[in-house]
Amino acid sequence: MRVAVVGVGMTKVGRLVDKSIRDLAAEAGLKAIEETGWEPPEAIVVGNMLSSLSEQENLGALIADYLGYRGVPAFKVEAACGSGGAAIAVGYSLVRAGIRRVLVIGVEKLTEAPTPVTTRRLAWASDADYELVHGPSFAGLNALLMRHYMSKHGVSREEMGSWAVLMHENGYRNPYAHIRKKVDLQTVINSPVIADPIRLFDACPISDGAAAVYLAAEDEVRRLSDTPVWVAAVANATDAVDVLSRKYLDRLEAAIMSAREAYRLAGVGPGDVDVAEVHDAYSITGVLGVEAMGFAEIGKAAKLVHEGRFAPGDKPTINPSGGLKSRGHPVGATGVYQVVEVVMQLRGDFPGIKVAAEVGAAQNVGGVGSNVTTTILRR
């Protein structure tokens, strides 16, 4: 049973003071349903990590009812920053299992609480008993990997800094992006240190937002869309939540496993991908993500970005949305944003930088690489 995306929707990403979780979910979700000609979904899957910041759990029922689909099976899927991709994986599996129309909504409202509270909760994606008890922030955990990676592979501060420059260059043209501002390399490498060696411009912003993908079984597709995009593969893989029991600190094994499996299922390789959205919560995450996708050898991605690779015009073009750095990172929604963005690239209607593409990939990473979903899409 083949599965296609027959509708997408997303909200602008940002600090959206006048919108709550249900408002965001409705804006993105109803847009995706509207694209199908208002076809009611048979199930709704919600990707979200921290709706507790809004004192709101039970998102499946809340959103199903609020959108006008009371009675429809609906529930939340959580995999930290990888919740959106995990929700796509579950939604895809439901369609393959016989539910013909599934709406996947990723939603996150991180600015509902003061930033220190949100920062503390984001660190809950780490291992509470063996990491968090010692006090690392989430940036701190990624900083441990960044220092090790730079040292082991002889990567300079300038080379790592080029990631943020490229992301802001791309995101500047994305009307949905949170931070639409070009930055130069000197600004990046002289920005304030958050968790040495991670600086402000190595880190994604704290964002609100929602995105939705309407998945349909093959026999429904023609009726619901003139521009379907086919889901060639969805593959999820896990690693230890703690970074301590991993063999290597200079790679994300779950991202590597997830990408390999997605390529195998789709029958394509890294060289076939025209456009990819990878998960750059921090510069180091983006670099490790590019390497896990097989677009660069381990230790080489930052150097390649510094040399000008992966920019618009290159194959693959990476993060034409601006990535988590510029588009923003509404954590449980991010993985769904990525799929929406790749779908729009394949349909040719992404409103920012356009990439002529037949094959696209989205990589969503939860925790410090502990829960990764890779989705491959084709026209």
Partner: protein, 136 residues
């Protein structure tokens, strides 16, 4: 934030630097798991990690999470083949990759009840100062 209950539950393990060793492949497993993550064996034995080792990587966190010092200095150290995370509470100014460290007891943070708590922490063993050796 952690709590007295959560710390008490693992106090013996934390303070004794307990880890597991796989009887089949010989790997040291830390944090503990119910099976060896490297070979899958469930034939595991408890071991105590050595109190000296070398820094693999570290970070100085200028924007710490609530309940922890500013800055929070965190290192991952190799203690007998295990990678262990801990705060660096002494000698942080001499912290580099490869630095020799010793496990000490350090006041690392506050619990949800507002109590300060102690955990195994790291002291950087300076090349310059005379080596005092193990103090336990």
């Amino acid at each position: 934030m952690t709590s007295v209950q959560r710390l008490w539950r693992r106090a013996r393990e934390y303070l004794g630097l307990k880890a597991l060793k796989c009887r089949r492949c010989g790997e040291v497993i830390y944090p503990p798991k119910r099976a060896c993550p490297y070979c899958g064996s469930r034939d595991l034995e408890e071991v105590a990690l050595p109190r000296r080792g070398k820094v693999i990587t570290y970070t100085v966190i200028n924007v710490p999470i609530e309940g922890f010092p500013k800055p929070t200095v965190i290192a991952v150290a190799d203690l007998g083949g295990a990678k262990v995370m801990a705060q660096v509470v002494e000698g942080a100014e001499e912290l580099v990759e490869g630095a020799e460290v010793e496990v000490v007891l350090g006041k690392v943070g506050r619990t949800v009840e507002g109590l300060e708590y102690y955990m195994p922490a790291l002291r950087v063993v300076s090349d310059k100062s005379p080596d005092e050796g193990d103090t336990d």
